[in-house]
């Protein structure tokens, strides 16, 4: 009863509330997102017709102000803090990720704006509102250090994703949304069950607390393994890695391209961060997570790459490729060194740029032909050489060949894992290294399929629409960095090197 009395103590409560309201400033980016969300909602209710421009401007302004706030936070960053009653952790890692998320989100919206589909995202406010809910979710995912917050933020992202998949017209969209939802619900139930055991072992939900670590150290292997694997499983669902990857091809194929470009990047990176945070607090030697994640990484690379080989639809192919990329992202994590963390983050940031760029170009091509099937893209490159070359560059970047930044990214993660292997001498690292490299070769075949269809096959299909100047400009804006950063990856590397990963 003493403790109860204490928390009822008026001055204590005042202190606590004071702390909370101070912490609110750290949440300024999230608040900015929520304000944008509410403005969108209000605007949507107030006006009946021709809402596109208003909605678009609110959305872009919201993201821009978020970006500005985050830049401010980044430049004025002083120290890592636990905020909102230890629910979240405010550190450079999260600020950096949110920065690139707001950029990625804006790029996704640009794709939506360029896509010009009939049931455009901007025509109704609802889908934009939900999209901003997803942004809020991924923002929280980057900061969550409390099991409750981890669960909640994943659920926010998931539920928004289900809705976004199914909200627009279409039979396939409805089907994909249902599958996504059922699969996701089971995954989150699995994760929740694991979390409930972790709580039972430790008596706390705060993964950074001492009680959590000491509590885990006392549990025997089998229950601990079950609880951790189930918990990690839920995160892996958002990461889209084996074994919780099966939903992604269906969803990617059906969902609107702009949405997919966001699905395939932001939640993945956020989930990776969560995984990173959870793993970093696990006491050494307690649980061989390197082996598990190594196996998951290898399996994802193999499943993703080999299945992608046989796809006939560009979006579905990119879905499988994103499974493979989830594996590559895990490679940096598995290395478990400073260099591994940095390279993982670099890979993540570059993956975001490459993938959003790829989806933009696919969206542009899709608008020309009316579908994303390879067969319909035959010979398009000859008709639109500039866009065709951009596609080639993006595909080369996704494969990981020079002179694109995709090469640097792969180089970093693989040299990180190789170095880690030499230090730690853990054989799973070697396997990840070897199989990862082999997979890169496999990737070459399917990534070059699209350029092959564009340039070396002749098609009779008439182009629905001429390519326009804005398409070229946006395409160039997305693709040029891939080439520039190959030579100048140093500056991003410097930014990343300045991030303090100590946990």
């Amino acid at each position: 009863m003493i403790s109860l009395l204490q928390s009822n103590n008026a001055s204590d409560l005042k202190d606590q509330l004071g702390n909370l309201s101070e912490d609110v400033w750290m949440l300024a980016p999230e608040i900015s997102v929520v304000i944008a969300l509410l403005l969108l909602l209000g605007f949507d209710l107030l006006f009946k017709k021709n809402k596109e421009i208003g909605l678009a401007s609110i959305a872009f302004c919201g993201l821009a102000s978020t970006f500005v706030i985050l830049t401010f936070q980044w430049t004025n960053f002083s120290t890592d803090l636990m905020i909102m009653g230890n629910l979240l952790r405010y550190d450079q890692l999260s600020v950096f990720l949110k920065l690139i998320f707001s950029l990625g989100g804006a790029l996704g919206l640009i794709i939506a704006a360029r896509n010009g589909e009939k049931n455009n995202l901007f025509q109704t406010g609802e889908s934009l509102v939900i999209l901003f809910g997803l942004f809020l979710g991924v923002f929280l995912m980057t900061m969550a250090t409390n099991l409750l917050m981890i669960y909640l933020s994943i659920e926010v992202v998931s539920i928004c994703s289900y809705m976004l998949t199914g909200i627009l017209k279409g039979k396939r969209k409805a089907e994909a949304a249902l599958k996504y939802l059922l699969f996701g619900a089971v995954s989150s139930a699995v994760m929740l069950y694991g979390i409930s055991w972790l709580y039972g072992f430790t008596g706390t939900l705060d993964v950074t607390s001492q009680a959590f670590i000491s509590g885990l150290s006392e549990v025997s292997v089998l229950p601990l393994t079950i609880a951790l694997i189930m918990t990690i499983g839920g995160i892996i669902f958002k990461l889209g890695a084996v074994p919780f990857h099966i939903w992604s091809p269906d969803v990617y194929q059906a969902a609107p391209t702009a949405i997919v470009s966001i699905f395939s990047t932001l939640p993945k990176l956020a989930a990776l961060t969560l995984l990173f945070r959870v793993i970093n607090v696990l006491p050494a030697g307690l649980f061989d997570w390197q082996l598990i994640l190594g196996v998951v990484a290898i399996a994802s690379m193999i499943f993703g790459n080999f299945s992608a080989l046989w796809q006939k639809d560009a979006k579905r192919m990119l879905a499988y490729s994103s499974i493979a990329h989830a594996g590559f992202l895990l490679v940096g994590l598995v290395a478990y060194t400073e260099a591994g963390n940095t390279s993982m983050l670099f890979y993540g940031a570059m993956y975001l740029v490459m993938n959003v760029g790829a989806f933009l170009l696919i969206a542009i091509l899709e608008r020309r032909t009316g579908s994303a099937a390879f067969d319909d893209m035959r010979g398009l490159g000859m008709k639109m050489p500039f866009l065709g070359i951009l596609v080639v560059i993006v595909m080369i970047a996704l494969t990981g060949l020079p002179p694109t930044v995709g090469f640097n990214a792969k180089l970093y993660v693989f040299s990180a894992i190789w170095e880690a292997y030499q230090v730690q001498n853990n054989s799973i690292l070697l396997w990840v290294f070897i199989l990862g490299l082999l997979n890169t070769v496999v990737a070459l075949f399917y990534y070059l399929k699209l350029p092959y269809y564009l340039f070396f096959k002749t098609g009779e299909k008439t182009v629905l629409e001429k390519s326009s100047i804005p398409d070229h400009i946006w395409g160039t804006i997305m693709v040029l960095p891939l080439l520039i950063w190959f030579f100048q990856s140093e500056w991003l590397m410097n930014v990343l090197n300045s991030i303090n990963f100590v946990f």
Binding site: V186, I226, N497
Partner: protein, 712 residues
């Protein structure tokens, strides 16, 4: 003790970096901008290349010297590991620089006429720019990682240029073949890089050379000691890894420089435009492999060198034999190139670093000259084609007697041919002589079966002289066979000498094939070029694994110098005379030649089909690949179409079992028929993938498998 960081530390600022950047910038500019120009593409990119040639000339003159100038800088740093870039401008690199730019310039000029009527001219020039850019990267960079990157880029641009006329099926097939063969070699290269990185923690060649000098072979182990970030590291690998590294790096050269057994792509690469063949597949790109070997020369130990020498000799002989019986003039030259590359590699293998590089330089000129002369012939013959008259412009069976029509081309072709054959007074003699002497010295030192290598080298001399003279005779002497073949008699009158744009580059190259261009007539040792490239001192190679010191070898064989020269000249003359006699107008073989379609005699067939290597590859390897892909397809079908399918299959089996169980035990025999049919229908539906519950099932099943694996 050495600190790795110090070795990689950037050196003080040197204005040279601006020149180097300019060297890269102009071809790249050409690559990006020619696409915008339509008809002016040739002038514009030739201009850019001209500027580049001037710059390279200026750099070569300014920085010519003993030691070479190096430039280092940091590319990026990741978790304490430094990735740096570095350039090295020693004499070899400077000469290569000038050669690449100069020949590229000549080819640009030549192509202005040759490609005049091609619609895709801007694309062509853009690719040439890309190629020059990437080739310069290989030449200038002194870090294996960068060399590898540009190596791949060179491969890419070569692929693009071979497949330039991709509408032709044969061209795109040839491009693919070149690409695949090169990739196989690159796999080896990459392995080599990994071994080196493991041992040295860097791929900077300067640092590697230095540390190689400090490394030891102890009890068969390869030990390297140095400081990395202030901590002492001792890397110990089995000594065989050193050989493995050398051989792996050599694999890269095998791919790019078309050595046995990957050489089959080069003859096919002749599907590209002829000027491209002159630039890429004779003078520069294929030489990149040899140049790379010279860069990593200090890493090659005795075993690796032996492999290199043997492969080189085999390549030289095989290709020379194949060149004997070709009908296609470009094929003859292609096989000849492979053969000469074999010589260069052989030279590297026997430790004659200087001779190898020297031959690379001389070969660049006379082979480019040969290709461009052939280009003139093809181009002029192409001009004769019209609606009704179609023929293969590269086939020597339609030529003959062209001496009267194309006198200047004839002269140039003959000069370059004699240089190739290795007669005194021509540049080829100097370098080939140097290689032969070194090979002889090496064979004497090793003794036994190694004389076979020397024998192959000498046999190649006579074959070379023979096949090139055969080509000269068939193309230029006798009577013009085309009018007869096509039935159009006045066609001969239309054949004219090429115009100035075509002739100037060829004449320049022919003049540079004379030995006075290299400051010596008889002895390679006295040539200024030969003196400029010095073998890296043998002390850097760990002593036990070192190649036999080249100096000692040469001393022991010095006495043989004169008679070796006599023998090789004699052999070359013998080859030439034989060809003259056999193919002189009116001789039996020459008469029989134009009617011949396919070789009949089995021996000639071996030559014509290049030892059946292609057939072998198609039969064996392609079959293997096909099975492989079938296996992959099987893998995909059986395993990857999900655990889903697998689960579904298990389900079938299990359900059959339950079905049987139900049938025989529970349900008895009563509802037998109705039950089974219902069950089967249910089963067939449950096999369908795309069902979300099967997804969940397989995910959970995998999760359980993970659990079981980790917990028990």
């Amino acid at each position: 003790m050495i600190e790795l960081k110090d070795l990689l530390a950037p050196n003080a600022f040197d204005p040279l970096i601006y020149w180097i950047l300019a060297l890269f910038a102009f071809p790249l500019l050409s690559f990006f901008t020619t696409g915008l120009l339509k008809d002016k593409a040739s002038v514009w990119s030739s201009l850019l290349l001209g500027i580049n040639t001037c710059i390279s000339g200026y750099i070569a003159v300014t920085y010519w010297g003993e030691m070479g100038t190096s430039l280092k800088g940091t590319w990026f740093e990741i978790g304490g590991t430094v990735f740096n870039y570095s350039f090295l401008l020693d004499n070899a690199a400077l000469i290569m620089l000038v050669i690449v730019n100069f020949i590229s310039l000549l080819v640009h000029i030549f192509s202005a006429e040759y490609m005049r009527h091609d619609k895709a001219k801007p694309r062509y020039y853009a690719f040439l720019g890309l190629f020059t850019f990437s080739m310069l990267g290989i030449v200038l960079f002194h870090n294996l990682l960068f060399i590898f990157i540009f190596w791949e880029l060179v491969g890419l641009s070569s692929y693009l240029l071979i497949g330039f006329w991709f509408e032709k099926k044969s061209a795109s097939l040839a491009a693919n073949k070149a690409f695949i063969m090169n990739r196989i070699g690159d796999l080896g290269f990459l392995t080599g890089l990994m071994i080196l990185y493991t041992q040295f923690e860097t791929l900077d060649l300067g640092a590697i050379e230095f540390m190689m000098g400090e490394s030891q072979i102890e009890d068969g182990n390869w030990v390297v000691t140095y400081f990395s970030n202030g901590k002492e590291v001792i890397h110990v690998l089995d000594g065989r890894w050193l050989s493995a590294a050398g051989i792996a790096l050599f694999c890269g050269a095998v791919g790019k420089s078309a050595q046995f057994p990957l050489q089959i792509w080069l003859p096919d690469a002749m599907e590209g435009p002829t000027p491209v063949s002159a630039l890429i597949h004779a003078a520069t790109m294929v030489a990149a492999g040899v140049f790379m070997l010279s860069r990593v020369f200090v890493l090659l130990d005795a075993q690796a060198l032996e492999v290199i020498a043997i492969v080189g000799a085999i390549t030289a002989l095989m290709a020379a034999v194949a060149a004997l019986s070709q009908f296609d003039i470009k094929k003859v030259l292609a096989y000849s190139t492979v053969s000469q590359l074999g010589y260069m590699v052989l030279a590297m293998g026997v430790g004659a670093y200087d001779a190898g590089l020297f031959h690379l330089f001389t070969h660049a000129f006379f082979k480019a000259g040969l290709f461009l002369s052939a280009g003139i012939i093809i181009h002029q013959l192409h001009g004769l084609e019209s609606e009704g008259v179609k023929f293969n412009t590269q086939d020597m069976r339609v030529m003959g007697g062209l001496k009267q029509h194309l006198p200047i081309t004839f002269a140039c072709f003959v000069i370059c041919s004699l240089s190739l054959a290795g007669l005194p007074g021509f540049s080829g003699f100097l370098s080939k002589e140097a290689i032969l002497i070194n090979t002889h010295a090496w064979s004497v030192e090793k003794g036994g079966g190694y004389y076979l290598i020397e024998l192959m080298a000498f046999a190649t001399v006579i074959l070379t002289a023979f096949y090139i003279m055969r080509a000269v005779m068939l193309v230029f002497t006798g009577k013009f066979r085309l009018p007869e073949l096509t039935g159009v008699s006045d066609i001969a009158g239309k054949l004219k000498e090429g115009n100035r744009t075509l002739l100037i580059p060829v004449v320049i190259l022919a003049l540079l094939s004379l030995s006075f261009a290299f400051g010596s007539t008889f002895d390679a040792e006295t040539s200024w070029l030969h003196k400029a490239v010095e073998t890296p001192s043998g002390a850097m190679v760990p002593t036990k694994y070192a190649a036999v010191g080249q100096a000692e070898m040469l001393e022991s064989a010095g006495a043989d110098h004169i008679w070796l020269a006599v023998v090789s000249i004699g052999l070359a003359l013998a080859g030439i005379i034989a060809a003259l006699l056999i193919y002189k107008p009116g001789a039996k073989l020459a008469e029989a030649f134009d009617s011949k379609r396919e070789p009949v005699s089995p021996l000639v067939q071996v030559s014509f089909y290049h030892w059946y290597q292609d057939v072998l590859y198609t039969k064996v390897i392609l079959k293997f690949i096909l099975t492989q892909s079938k296996m992959l397809a099987w893998f995909d079908e059986k395993i990857l179409d999900g655990c889903v399918n697998l689960l579904a299959r298990t389900q079938v089996v299990v359900a059959h079992l339950t079905g049987m169980f139900d049938r025989y035990i529970i349900d008895g025999f009563v509802h037998l028929t109705a039950f089974t049919s219902g069950k089967v229908g249910q089963l067939t539906r449950s096999i369908q993938t795309g069902n979300v519950q099967t997804y969940i099932l397989s995910a959970i099943a995998m999760l359980i498998m993970l659990l079981l694996w980790f917990a028990f």
